[in-house]
Amino acid sequence: MNAESVWAVFRFEWRRSLSGFRIVAWLVLALFTPILILLVQSRPLDPVSEYVMGSVIFVLVVEVTCLLGLLLWGAPLIQAELESNSWIYLAVRPYGRVHLLLGKYANATTWVFLAAVTAISITSRFVWMVETERLWVVIVALSLLSSLAYGALYVLIAVVFPKKAMVFAVLYTLIFEGLVSLVPATINRLTIQYRLRSLLFHWMDWYDKIPEDARILLSKAPPWQDVGILLGITVSLLAAAVVAIQFREYLTGGPD
Protein backbone atom coordinates (compact mmCIF):
# COMPACT_ATOMS: atom_id res chain seq x y z
CA MET A 1 0.00 0.00 0.00
CA ASN A 2 1.01 3.57 -0.61
CA ALA A 3 -0.11 6.74 1.21
CA GLU A 4 0.53 8.83 -1.89
CA SER A 5 -1.99 6.76 -3.84
CA VAL A 6 -4.59 7.18 -1.08
CA TRP A 7 -3.93 10.92 -1.17
CA ALA A 8 -4.29 10.84 -4.98
CA VAL A 9 -7.72 9.18 -4.66
CA PHE A 10 -8.74 11.70 -2.00
CA ARG A 11 -7.68 14.66 -4.16
CA PHE A 12 -9.26 13.27 -7.31
CA GLU A 13 -12.51 12.45 -5.54
CA TRP A 14 -12.56 15.88 -3.92
CA ARG A 15 -12.13 17.56 -7.29
CA ARG A 16 -14.70 15.28 -8.91
CA SER A 17 -17.25 15.66 -6.14
CA LEU A 18 -17.38 19.45 -6.42
CA SER A 19 -20.62 19.15 -8.33
CA GLY A 20 -23.78 21.22 -7.96
CA PHE A 21 -25.68 18.32 -6.40
CA ARG A 22 -22.95 17.60 -3.87
CA ILE A 23 -22.71 21.25 -2.81
CA VAL A 24 -26.48 21.59 -2.45
CA ALA A 25 -26.65 18.37 -0.41
CA TRP A 26 -23.78 19.58 1.74
CA LEU A 27 -25.51 22.93 2.35
CA VAL A 28 -28.75 21.18 3.33
CA LEU A 29 -26.83 19.05 5.84
CA ALA A 30 -24.89 21.99 7.21
CA LEU A 31 -27.89 24.31 7.54
CA PHE A 32 -30.44 21.75 8.72
CA THR A 33 -29.49 21.99 12.42
CA PRO A 34 -29.17 25.79 12.69
CA ILE A 35 -32.50 26.34 10.93
CA LEU A 36 -34.28 23.80 13.15
CA ILE A 37 -32.81 25.23 16.35
CA LEU A 38 -33.64 28.74 15.19
CA LEU A 39 -37.26 27.70 14.59
CA VAL A 40 -37.47 26.01 17.99
CA GLN A 41 -36.03 29.02 19.78
CA SER A 42 -38.24 31.49 17.96
CA ARG A 43 -41.33 29.97 19.58
CA PRO A 44 -42.11 30.55 23.24
CA LEU A 45 -41.19 27.29 24.98
CA ASP A 46 -41.00 26.25 28.56
CA PRO A 47 -37.47 26.70 29.83
CA VAL A 48 -35.52 23.54 29.19
CA SER A 49 -32.49 22.22 30.96
CA GLU A 50 -29.20 23.00 29.34
CA TYR A 51 -28.49 19.31 28.81
CA VAL A 52 -31.79 18.83 27.02
CA MET A 53 -30.92 21.56 24.50
CA GLY A 54 -27.38 20.20 24.28
CA SER A 55 -28.72 16.72 23.65
CA VAL A 56 -30.98 18.00 20.88
CA ILE A 57 -28.01 19.67 19.21
CA PHE A 58 -25.97 16.48 19.70
CA VAL A 59 -28.69 14.41 18.02
CA LEU A 60 -29.07 16.84 15.14
CA VAL A 61 -25.37 17.34 14.44
CA VAL A 62 -23.56 14.20 15.56
CA GLU A 63 -26.32 11.78 14.61
CA VAL A 64 -28.56 13.22 11.90
CA THR A 65 -26.03 15.34 10.00
CA CYS A 66 -23.16 12.87 10.20
CA LEU A 67 -25.24 9.77 9.54
CA LEU A 68 -27.18 11.26 6.63
CA GLY A 69 -23.98 12.55 5.07
CA LEU A 70 -22.25 9.22 5.43
CA LEU A 71 -25.28 7.37 4.08
CA LEU A 72 -25.11 9.61 1.04
CA TRP A 73 -21.36 9.52 0.42
CA GLY A 74 -19.99 6.53 2.31
CA ALA A 75 -22.50 3.73 1.84
CA PRO A 76 -22.59 3.79 -1.99
CA LEU A 77 -18.80 3.81 -2.19
CA ILE A 78 -18.43 0.60 -4.20
CA GLN A 79 -21.76 0.61 -5.97
CA ALA A 80 -21.14 4.10 -7.35
CA GLU A 81 -17.88 2.92 -8.90
CA LEU A 82 -19.48 -0.22 -10.30
CA GLU A 83 -22.42 1.67 -11.78
CA SER A 84 -20.24 4.33 -13.33
CA ASN A 85 -17.91 1.67 -14.79
CA SER A 86 -14.89 3.29 -13.17
CA TRP A 87 -14.30 0.38 -10.77
CA ILE A 88 -12.39 -1.80 -13.20
CA TYR A 89 -9.97 1.01 -14.14
CA LEU A 90 -9.02 1.40 -10.48
CA ALA A 91 -9.14 -2.26 -9.47
CA VAL A 92 -6.46 -3.24 -11.99
CA ARG A 93 -3.94 -0.91 -10.36
CA PRO A 94 -1.61 -2.24 -7.65
CA TYR A 95 -3.63 -2.19 -4.40
CA GLY A 96 -6.11 -0.09 -6.35
CA ARG A 97 -9.08 -1.46 -4.43
CA VAL A 98 -7.56 -0.58 -1.05
CA HIS A 99 -6.40 2.86 -2.16
CA LEU A 100 -9.83 3.56 -3.57
CA LEU A 101 -11.53 2.47 -0.36
CA LEU A 102 -9.30 4.52 1.95
CA GLY A 103 -9.26 7.58 -0.32
CA LYS A 104 -13.03 7.61 -0.71
CA TYR A 105 -13.50 6.97 3.00
CA ALA A 106 -11.30 9.98 3.81
CA ASN A 107 -13.19 12.06 1.26
CA ALA A 108 -16.64 11.12 2.63
CA THR A 109 -15.68 11.68 6.27
CA THR A 110 -14.10 15.04 5.43
CA TRP A 111 -17.23 16.28 3.64
CA VAL A 112 -19.41 15.12 6.53
CA PHE A 113 -17.15 16.45 9.25
CA LEU A 114 -17.01 19.86 7.58
CA ALA A 115 -20.83 19.90 7.35
CA ALA A 116 -21.06 19.06 11.05
CA VAL A 117 -18.52 21.74 12.02
CA THR A 118 -20.40 24.30 9.94
CA ALA A 119 -23.70 23.25 11.52
CA ILE A 120 -22.47 23.57 15.12
CA SER A 121 -20.55 26.76 14.34
CA ILE A 122 -23.68 28.51 13.03
CA THR A 123 -25.89 27.02 15.74
CA SER A 124 -23.60 28.07 18.57
CA ARG A 125 -23.84 31.72 17.44
CA PHE A 126 -27.43 32.05 18.56
CA VAL A 127 -28.32 29.09 20.77
CA TRP A 128 -29.14 29.92 24.32
CA MET A 129 -26.65 28.15 26.57
CA VAL A 130 -24.22 29.03 29.31
CA GLU A 131 -21.31 27.01 27.95
CA THR A 132 -21.69 27.54 24.24
CA GLU A 133 -17.97 27.47 23.48
CA ARG A 134 -17.51 24.26 25.43
CA LEU A 135 -20.44 22.69 23.62
CA TRP A 136 -18.88 23.73 20.28
CA VAL A 137 -15.60 22.00 21.15
CA VAL A 138 -17.38 18.85 22.39
CA ILE A 139 -19.71 18.61 19.40
CA VAL A 140 -16.81 19.13 16.98
CA ALA A 141 -14.84 16.35 18.70
CA LEU A 142 -17.86 14.05 18.74
CA SER A 143 -18.60 14.83 15.09
CA LEU A 144 -15.07 13.81 14.20
CA LEU A 145 -15.36 10.54 16.13
CA SER A 146 -18.83 9.95 14.69
CA SER A 147 -17.70 10.58 11.11
CA LEU A 148 -14.74 8.26 11.47
CA ALA A 149 -16.61 5.41 13.19
CA TYR A 150 -19.84 5.49 11.18
CA GLY A 151 -17.82 6.10 8.02
CA ALA A 152 -15.84 2.92 8.69
CA LEU A 153 -19.05 1.02 9.46
CA TYR A 154 -20.77 2.11 6.25
CA VAL A 155 -17.67 1.45 4.20
CA LEU A 156 -17.58 -2.11 5.50
CA ILE A 157 -21.27 -2.53 4.66
CA ALA A 158 -20.56 -1.07 1.20
CA VAL A 159 -17.80 -3.59 0.60
CA VAL A 160 -19.76 -6.62 1.79
CA PHE A 161 -23.15 -5.71 0.30
CA PRO A 162 -22.28 -3.40 -2.58
CA LYS A 163 -25.65 -3.52 -4.32
CA LYS A 164 -27.80 -3.04 -1.21
CA ALA A 165 -25.36 -1.02 0.88
CA MET A 166 -27.75 1.87 1.49
CA VAL A 167 -30.57 -0.44 2.59
CA PHE A 168 -28.35 -2.41 4.96
CA ALA A 169 -26.78 0.76 6.33
CA VAL A 170 -30.19 2.29 7.07
CA LEU A 171 -31.48 -0.92 8.65
CA TYR A 172 -28.37 -1.30 10.77
CA THR A 173 -28.55 2.30 11.90
CA LEU A 174 -32.22 2.13 12.81
CA ILE A 175 -32.01 -1.23 14.58
CA PHE A 176 -28.65 -1.08 16.32
CA GLU A 177 -27.73 2.58 16.63
CA GLY A 178 -31.34 3.66 17.14
CA LEU A 179 -33.06 0.94 19.15
CA VAL A 180 -30.37 -1.30 20.61
CA SER A 181 -28.27 1.65 21.83
CA LEU A 182 -31.24 2.68 23.97
CA VAL A 183 -31.87 -0.77 25.43
CA PRO A 184 -30.85 -0.70 29.09
CA ALA A 185 -28.73 -3.82 28.84
CA THR A 186 -25.12 -4.76 28.16
CA ILE A 187 -25.80 -5.11 24.44
CA ASN A 188 -26.08 -1.34 24.07
CA ARG A 189 -22.36 -1.07 24.81
CA LEU A 190 -21.66 -2.59 21.43
CA THR A 191 -23.05 0.44 19.64
CA ILE A 192 -21.19 3.54 18.53
CA GLN A 193 -24.06 5.67 19.71
CA TYR A 194 -23.65 4.54 23.32
CA ARG A 195 -20.02 5.73 23.38
CA LEU A 196 -20.73 9.06 21.71
CA ARG A 197 -23.65 9.78 24.04
CA SER A 198 -21.56 8.91 27.09
CA LEU A 199 -18.76 11.20 25.95
CA LEU A 200 -21.20 14.09 25.53
CA PHE A 201 -22.50 13.78 29.06
CA HIS A 202 -19.05 13.29 30.57
CA TRP A 203 -17.30 16.06 28.65
CA MET A 204 -20.14 18.52 29.36
CA ASP A 205 -20.30 17.43 33.03
CA TRP A 206 -24.00 16.62 32.68
CA TYR A 207 -23.72 13.07 33.96
CA ASP A 208 -24.72 14.05 37.52
CA LYS A 209 -27.53 16.29 36.32
CA ILE A 210 -29.62 13.67 34.61
CA PRO A 211 -32.08 11.40 36.43
CA GLU A 212 -30.38 8.42 38.03
CA ASP A 213 -32.39 5.79 36.12
CA ALA A 214 -31.32 7.37 32.82
CA ARG A 215 -27.64 6.87 33.63
CA ILE A 216 -27.91 3.22 32.69
CA LEU A 217 -27.85 4.45 29.10
CA LEU A 218 -24.41 5.96 29.62
CA SER A 219 -20.98 4.51 30.16
CA LYS A 220 -19.42 4.89 33.57
CA ALA A 221 -15.94 4.50 32.12
CA PRO A 222 -13.62 7.49 31.91
CA PRO A 223 -13.88 9.39 28.61
CA TRP A 224 -10.46 8.30 27.35
CA GLN A 225 -11.72 4.73 27.43
CA ASP A 226 -14.75 5.54 25.33
CA VAL A 227 -12.57 7.46 22.87
CA GLY A 228 -10.18 4.51 22.75
CA ILE A 229 -13.05 2.09 22.10
CA LEU A 230 -14.46 4.31 19.35
CA LEU A 231 -11.08 4.59 17.66
CA GLY A 232 -10.63 0.83 18.10
CA ILE A 233 -14.02 0.21 16.46
CA THR A 234 -13.06 2.54 13.60
CA VAL A 235 -9.73 0.85 12.96
CA SER A 236 -11.24 -2.65 13.25
CA LEU A 237 -14.08 -1.87 10.85
CA LEU A 238 -11.72 -0.26 8.35
CA ALA A 239 -9.32 -3.19 8.60
CA ALA A 240 -12.20 -5.59 8.02
CA ALA A 241 -13.28 -3.54 4.99
CA VAL A 242 -9.73 -3.55 3.60
CA VAL A 243 -9.51 -7.33 3.95
CA ALA A 244 -13.00 -7.87 2.53
CA ILE A 245 -12.43 -5.67 -0.53
CA GLN A 246 -9.28 -7.62 -1.37
CA PHE A 247 -11.06 -10.96 -1.34
CA ARG A 248 -14.39 -10.13 -2.87
CA GLU A 249 -15.20 -10.55 -6.55
CA TYR A 250 -17.08 -7.64 -8.07
CA LEU A 251 -18.85 -8.23 -11.33
CA THR A 252 -18.41 -5.30 -13.66
CA GLY A 253 -20.68 -6.61 -16.40
CA GLY A 254 -22.39 -9.71 -17.59
CA PRO A 255 -20.54 -13.02 -17.89
CA ASP A 256 -19.10 -12.15 -21.28
Binding site: E4, R16, E83, S84, Y89, A91, V92, R93, P94, P255
Partner: protein
Protein backbone atom coordinates in the same frame (compact mmCIF):
# COMPACT_ATOMS: atom_id res chain seq x y z
CA UNK B 1 3.22 -15.31 -20.13
CA UNK B 2 -0.36 -16.39 -19.52
CA UNK B 3 -1.33 -19.91 -18.59
CA UNK B 4 -4.76 -21.36 -17.96
CA UNK B 5 -5.00 -24.95 -16.83
CA UNK B 6 -8.48 -26.41 -17.31
CA UNK B 7 -10.04 -23.21 -16.05
CA UNK B 8 -13.77 -22.99 -15.52
CA UNK B 9 -15.57 -19.96 -14.16
CA UNK B 10 -19.17 -20.21 -13.05
CA UNK B 11 -21.44 -17.32 -12.09
CA UNK B 12 -23.83 -19.35 -9.95
CA UNK B 13 -25.52 -21.45 -12.66
CA UNK B 14 -24.17 -19.48 -15.63
CA UNK B 15 -20.97 -20.67 -17.27
CA UNK B 16 -18.53 -17.87 -17.90
CA UNK B 17 -15.80 -20.00 -19.38
CA UNK B 18 -15.65 -23.76 -19.57
CA UNK B 19 -12.53 -25.90 -19.17
CA UNK B 20 -10.10 -23.65 -20.99
CA UNK B 21 -6.59 -24.97 -21.23
CA UNK B 22 -4.01 -22.84 -22.97
CA UNK B 23 -0.61 -21.28 -22.68
CA UNK B 24 0.28 -17.94 -24.25
CA UNK B 25 3.95 -17.04 -24.51
CA UNK B 26 4.78 -13.35 -25.05
CA UNK B 27 3.35 -12.20 -28.38
CA UNK B 28 0.22 -10.74 -29.88
CA UNK B 29 -3.09 -12.58 -29.85
CA UNK B 30 -6.59 -11.82 -30.96
CA UNK B 31 -9.30 -13.02 -28.59
CA UNK B 32 -12.29 -13.52 -30.81
CA UNK B 33 -15.83 -14.50 -30.04
CA UNK B 34 -19.41 -13.30 -30.15
CA UNK B 35 -21.05 -11.43 -27.28
CA UNK B 36 -21.36 -13.65 -24.23
CA UNK B 37 -18.61 -15.98 -25.38
CA UNK B 38 -16.51 -15.47 -22.24
CA UNK B 39 -13.89 -13.00 -23.50
CA UNK B 40 -14.29 -10.53 -20.64
CA UNK B 41 -14.43 -13.34 -18.09
CA UNK B 42 -11.15 -14.65 -19.43
CA UNK B 43 -9.62 -11.18 -19.21
CA UNK B 44 -10.95 -10.68 -15.68
CA UNK B 45 -9.31 -13.94 -14.66
CA UNK B 46 -6.01 -12.85 -16.17
CA UNK B 47 -6.13 -9.45 -14.48
CA UNK B 48 -6.92 -11.04 -11.10
CA UNK B 49 -10.42 -9.62 -10.81
CA UNK B 50 -12.03 -13.05 -10.68
CA UNK B 51 -11.01 -16.40 -9.20
CA UNK B 52 -11.51 -19.52 -11.28
CA UNK B 53 -14.15 -21.91 -10.01
CA UNK B 54 -12.00 -24.79 -11.25
CA UNK B 55 -8.48 -24.93 -12.61
CA UNK B 56 -5.47 -22.70 -12.27
CA UNK B 57 -4.53 -19.34 -13.78
CA UNK B 58 -0.93 -18.16 -13.95
CA UNK B 59 0.32 -14.78 -15.18
CA UNK B 60 4.09 -14.47 -15.45
CA UNK B 61 4.17 -17.73 -13.48
CA UNK B 62 2.13 -16.43 -10.56
CA UNK B 63 -1.47 -16.50 -9.42
CA UNK B 64 -2.94 -13.14 -10.44
CA UNK B 65 -5.73 -13.17 -7.85
CA UNK B 66 -4.95 -10.51 -5.26
CA UNK B 67 -1.44 -10.12 -6.61
CA UNK B 68 -0.86 -6.40 -6.85
CA UNK B 69 2.73 -6.74 -8.01
CA UNK B 70 1.62 -8.33 -11.28
CA UNK B 71 -0.74 -5.50 -12.10
CA UNK B 72 2.14 -3.10 -12.78
CA UNK B 73 3.14 -5.34 -15.68
CA UNK B 74 -0.33 -5.33 -17.24
CA UNK B 75 -2.06 -2.51 -19.07
CA UNK B 76 -5.80 -3.05 -19.32
CA UNK B 77 -8.25 -1.15 -21.45
CA UNK B 78 -11.75 -2.34 -20.43
CA UNK B 79 -14.73 -2.20 -22.77
CA UNK B 80 -17.08 0.04 -20.76
CA UNK B 81 -16.63 3.82 -20.63
CA UNK B 82 -16.54 5.35 -17.17
CA UNK B 83 -19.67 7.49 -16.81
CA UNK B 84 -18.23 10.31 -14.74
CA UNK B 85 -16.09 12.41 -17.01
CA UNK B 86 -16.04 15.88 -15.46
CA UNK B 87 -12.25 15.87 -15.42
CA UNK B 88 -9.73 16.38 -18.19
CA UNK B 89 -8.02 13.49 -19.96
CA UNK B 90 -4.68 14.60 -18.51
CA UNK B 91 -6.07 14.61 -14.96
CA UNK B 92 -7.66 11.19 -15.37
CA UNK B 93 -4.65 9.45 -16.88
CA UNK B 94 -2.35 11.14 -14.33
CA UNK B 95 -4.63 9.94 -11.54
CA UNK B 96 -4.55 6.35 -12.77
CA UNK B 97 -0.77 6.50 -13.10
CA UNK B 98 -0.49 7.72 -9.53
CA UNK B 99 -2.52 4.68 -8.52
CA UNK B 100 0.12 2.61 -10.28
CA UNK B 101 2.40 4.14 -7.64
CA UNK B 102 4.26 6.43 -9.99
CA UNK B 103 5.17 9.80 -8.39
CA UNK B 104 2.93 12.71 -9.32
CA UNK B 105 5.34 14.73 -11.47
CA UNK B 106 6.40 11.63 -13.39
CA UNK B 107 2.76 10.60 -13.72
CA UNK B 108 1.89 13.91 -15.35
CA UNK B 109 4.80 13.63 -17.79
CA UNK B 110 3.92 10.03 -18.70
CA UNK B 111 0.24 10.91 -19.08
CA UNK B 112 1.13 13.68 -21.53
CA UNK B 113 3.32 11.30 -23.55
CA UNK B 114 0.63 8.62 -23.68
CA UNK B 115 -2.07 11.08 -24.70
CA UNK B 116 0.15 12.50 -27.41
CA UNK B 117 0.88 8.97 -28.59
CA UNK B 118 -2.83 8.30 -29.09
CA UNK B 119 -3.30 11.63 -30.86
CA UNK B 120 -4.90 13.64 -28.08
CA UNK B 121 -2.03 16.04 -27.47
CA UNK B 122 -4.03 19.15 -28.30
CA UNK B 123 -7.21 18.24 -26.43
CA UNK B 124 -5.86 16.65 -23.25
CA UNK B 125 -6.90 19.62 -21.08
CA UNK B 126 -10.56 19.54 -22.14
CA UNK B 127 -13.16 17.85 -19.89
CA UNK B 128 -13.61 14.30 -21.13
CA UNK B 129 -17.39 14.71 -21.27
CA UNK B 130 -16.86 16.99 -24.31
CA UNK B 131 -15.02 14.23 -26.20
CA UNK B 132 -16.39 12.06 -28.97
CA UNK B 133 -16.73 8.31 -28.50
CA UNK B 134 -13.60 7.72 -30.56
CA UNK B 135 -11.59 10.15 -28.43
CA UNK B 136 -12.74 8.35 -25.29
CA UNK B 137 -11.55 5.06 -26.72
CA UNK B 138 -8.17 6.64 -27.26
CA UNK B 139 -8.03 7.95 -23.68
CA UNK B 140 -8.80 4.45 -22.48
CA UNK B 141 -5.94 3.15 -24.58
CA UNK B 142 -3.66 5.90 -23.24
CA UNK B 143 -4.33 4.96 -19.61
CA UNK B 144 -3.56 1.33 -20.43
CA UNK B 145 -0.19 1.94 -22.07
CA UNK B 146 0.99 4.99 -20.08
CA UNK B 147 2.84 2.98 -17.44
CA UNK B 148 4.64 0.98 -20.14
CA UNK B 149 3.34 -2.48 -19.26
CA UNK B 150 4.73 -5.74 -20.59
CA UNK B 151 1.31 -6.92 -21.73
CA UNK B 152 -1.48 -4.81 -23.09
CA UNK B 153 -4.97 -6.28 -22.71
CA UNK B 154 -7.66 -4.54 -24.73
CA UNK B 155 -11.35 -5.38 -24.52
CA UNK B 156 -13.20 -4.30 -27.66
CA UNK B 157 -11.03 -1.23 -28.36
CA UNK B 158 -12.63 -0.63 -31.77
CA UNK B 159 -16.12 -0.09 -30.39
CA UNK B 160 -17.56 3.22 -31.47
CA UNK B 161 -14.63 4.21 -33.65
CA UNK B 162 -15.20 5.67 -37.10
CA UNK B 163 -13.09 4.32 -40.00
CA UNK B 164 -10.36 6.91 -39.42
CA UNK B 165 -10.31 6.17 -35.70
CA UNK B 166 -10.12 2.45 -36.44
CA UNK B 167 -7.19 2.99 -38.76
CA UNK B 168 -5.39 5.10 -36.16
CA UNK B 169 -6.06 2.57 -33.39
CA UNK B 170 -4.81 -0.22 -35.66
CA UNK B 171 -1.63 1.73 -36.41
CA UNK B 172 -0.94 2.32 -32.70
CA UNK B 173 -1.42 -1.35 -31.92
CA UNK B 174 0.70 -2.44 -34.89
CA UNK B 175 3.49 -0.21 -33.56
CA UNK B 176 3.07 -1.70 -30.10
CA UNK B 177 3.46 -5.21 -31.50
CA UNK B 178 6.38 -4.16 -33.72
CA UNK B 179 8.16 -2.85 -30.63
CA UNK B 180 8.15 -6.41 -29.31
CA UNK B 181 5.47 -5.83 -26.69
CA UNK B 182 2.77 -8.37 -25.97
CA UNK B 183 -0.88 -7.85 -26.70
CA UNK B 184 -4.16 -9.62 -26.05
CA UNK B 185 -6.85 -8.01 -28.15
CA UNK B 186 -10.45 -8.97 -27.56
CA UNK B 187 -12.77 -8.15 -30.40
CA UNK B 188 -15.53 -9.36 -32.63
CA UNK B 189 -14.33 -7.22 -35.54
CA UNK B 190 -12.33 -9.98 -37.19
CA UNK B 191 -10.66 -8.15 -40.04
CA UNK B 192 -9.25 -5.52 -37.69
CA UNK B 193 -7.75 -8.21 -35.50
CA UNK B 194 -6.26 -9.80 -38.63
CA UNK B 195 -4.42 -6.55 -39.40
CA UNK B 196 -2.71 -6.56 -36.01
CA UNK B 197 -1.90 -10.16 -35.25
CA UNK B 198 -1.94 -13.49 -37.08
CA UNK B 199 -2.58 -15.50 -33.88
CA UNK B 200 -6.04 -16.03 -32.51
CA UNK B 201 -8.01 -17.57 -29.71
CA UNK B 202 -11.52 -18.36 -30.83
CA UNK B 203 -14.08 -18.50 -28.02
CA UNK B 204 -17.71 -19.44 -28.13
CA UNK B 205 -20.11 -20.36 -25.34
CA UNK B 206 -17.28 -20.15 -22.84
CA UNK B 207 -15.20 -22.75 -24.68
CA UNK B 208 -11.97 -22.29 -26.55
CA UNK B 209 -12.88 -23.50 -30.03
CA UNK B 210 -9.43 -23.11 -31.52
CA UNK B 211 -6.16 -21.28 -31.14
CA UNK B 212 -3.19 -20.51 -33.35
CA UNK B 213 -2.71 -18.83 -36.71
CA UNK B 214 -5.39 -18.99 -39.38
CA UNK B 215 -3.34 -21.66 -41.20
CA UNK B 216 -2.98 -23.75 -38.05
CA UNK B 217 -6.67 -23.48 -37.33
CA UNK B 218 -7.47 -24.37 -40.93
CA UNK B 219 -5.21 -27.40 -40.65
CA UNK B 220 -7.02 -28.41 -37.47
CA UNK B 221 -10.25 -28.05 -39.38
CA UNK B 222 -9.06 -30.42 -42.10
CA UNK B 223 -11.68 -32.99 -41.25
CA UNK B 224 -14.51 -30.49 -41.28
CA UNK B 225 -16.86 -30.66 -44.18
CA UNK B 226 -17.43 -27.58 -46.29
CA UNK B 227 -19.66 -26.93 -49.27
CA UNK B 228 -18.38 -26.05 -52.74
CA UNK B 229 -20.82 -24.65 -55.26
CA UNK B 230 -20.11 -24.44 -59.00
CA UNK B 231 -22.28 -22.90 -61.72
CA UNK B 232 -21.72 -22.84 -65.46
CA UNK B 233 -21.71 -25.23 -68.39
CA UNK B 234 -19.96 -28.60 -68.58
CA UNK B 235 -21.05 -29.44 -65.05
CA UNK B 236 -21.70 -33.08 -66.00
CA UNK B 237 -18.04 -33.39 -66.90
CA UNK B 238 -16.98 -31.82 -63.61
CA UNK B 239 -19.28 -34.15 -61.68
CA UNK B 240 -17.97 -37.23 -63.44
CA UNK B 241 -14.38 -36.24 -62.66
CA UNK B 242 -14.90 -35.18 -59.08
CA UNK B 243 -17.18 -37.92 -57.86
CA UNK B 244 -14.29 -40.32 -57.42
CA UNK B 245 -12.23 -37.87 -55.37
CA UNK B 246 -11.84 -39.28 -51.82
CA UNK B 247 -12.40 -35.77 -50.40
CA UNK B 248 -15.80 -35.43 -52.06
CA UNK B 249 -18.40 -36.69 -49.65
CA UNK B 250 -21.51 -35.96 -51.67
CA UNK B 251 -22.35 -34.38 -54.96
CA UNK B 252 -25.64 -32.95 -56.15
CA UNK B 253 -26.75 -31.38 -59.42
CA UNK B 254 -28.71 -28.17 -59.36
CA UNK B 255 -31.90 -27.89 -61.50
CA UNK B 256 -31.22 -28.28 -65.24
CA UNK B 257 -27.67 -29.32 -64.42
CA UNK B 258 -26.78 -25.62 -64.25
CA UNK B 259 -24.41 -26.31 -61.43
CA UNK B 260 -23.31 -28.74 -58.75
CA UNK B 261 -22.97 -28.67 -54.99
CA UNK B 262 -20.37 -30.80 -53.34
CA UNK B 263 -19.78 -31.51 -49.70
CA UNK B 264 -16.02 -31.78 -49.47
CA UNK B 265 -13.15 -32.09 -47.11
CA UNK B 266 -11.11 -29.11 -48.22
CA UNK B 267 -7.65 -30.62 -48.56
CA UNK B 268 -4.82 -29.33 -50.81
CA UNK B 269 -5.20 -32.47 -52.96
CA UNK B 270 -8.88 -31.74 -53.50
CA UNK B 271 -8.18 -28.15 -54.49
CA UNK B 272 -5.48 -29.21 -57.01
CA UNK B 273 -7.81 -31.81 -58.49
CA UNK B 274 -10.64 -29.31 -58.82
CA UNK B 275 -8.38 -26.80 -60.57
CA UNK B 276 -7.35 -29.45 -63.11
CA UNK B 277 -10.95 -30.46 -63.81
CA UNK B 278 -12.09 -26.87 -64.20
CA UNK B 279 -9.29 -26.24 -66.71
CA UNK B 280 -10.91 -28.68 -69.20
CA UNK B 281 -12.08 -26.92 -72.42
CA UNK B 282 -15.70 -28.10 -72.09
CA UNK B 283 -16.09 -26.39 -68.75
CA UNK B 284 -17.15 -22.74 -68.65
CA UNK B 285 -17.30 -21.60 -65.07
CA UNK B 286 -19.66 -18.79 -64.16
CA UNK B 287 -19.59 -19.04 -60.39
CA UNK B 288 -17.42 -20.76 -57.81
CA UNK B 289 -18.13 -20.61 -54.10
CA UNK B 290 -15.67 -22.39 -51.82
CA UNK B 291 -15.05 -22.52 -48.09
CA UNK B 292 -12.68 -19.63 -47.50
CA UNK B 293 -9.48 -19.71 -45.43
CA UNK B 294 -10.20 -16.26 -44.03
CA UNK B 295 -10.50 -15.82 -40.30
CA UNK B 296 -14.11 -14.86 -40.78
CA UNK B 297 -14.84 -18.07 -42.62
CA UNK B 298 -12.88 -20.22 -40.20
CA UNK B 299 -14.70 -18.69 -37.30
CA UNK B 300 -18.01 -19.19 -39.04
CA UNK B 301 -17.17 -22.85 -39.65
CA UNK B 302 -16.10 -23.32 -36.04
CA UNK B 303 -19.31 -21.74 -34.83
CA UNK B 304 -21.36 -24.06 -37.06
CA UNK B 305 -19.38 -27.00 -35.79
CA UNK B 306 -19.92 -25.88 -32.21
CA UNK B 307 -23.66 -25.66 -32.79
CA UNK B 308 -23.76 -28.97 -34.61
CA UNK B 309 -24.72 -27.38 -37.94
CA UNK B 310 -21.69 -28.83 -39.69
CA UNK B 311 -20.57 -32.40 -39.40
CA UNK B 312 -17.04 -33.70 -39.32
CA UNK B 313 -15.73 -36.18 -41.80
CA UNK B 314 -16.06 -39.09 -39.38
CA UNK B 315 -19.83 -38.90 -39.86
CA UNK B 316 -19.56 -39.42 -43.62
CA UNK B 317 -18.46 -42.16 -45.91
CA UNK B 318 -16.90 -41.08 -49.22
CA UNK B 319 -19.01 -41.83 -52.27
CA UNK B 320 -18.05 -44.63 -54.56
CA UNK B 321 -17.42 -43.60 -58.20
CA UNK B 322 -20.67 -43.25 -60.13
CA UNK B 323 -22.81 -42.65 -57.07
CA UNK B 324 -23.49 -39.02 -57.89
CA UNK B 325 -27.16 -38.16 -57.59
Amino acid sequence: MFELQHVTKLYKLVIGINDIHLSLPPGAYGLIGPNGSGKTTLINLLTGQLRPTLGRVRVFGENPWNHSGLLRRLGYCPAPDPAQWNVSALEWVTYLLQLTQIPRTESTARARQALERVGLGSSMHRPIQTYSLGMRQRIKLAQALAHDPDWLILDEPFNGLDPIGRREMTTILQEWVRDGKSLLLSSHVLHEVEEITPSYLLLCGGRLLASGTAEEIAADLGNVVGEVTLRGSGMAHVASQMVGDPDVLSLQFMPHRSGIKMLVRSSPAFRTHLQQVLAAPEVVLEELDTPSQSLDSLFSTLMKLHRGEVVSQESWEPLAPGEAS
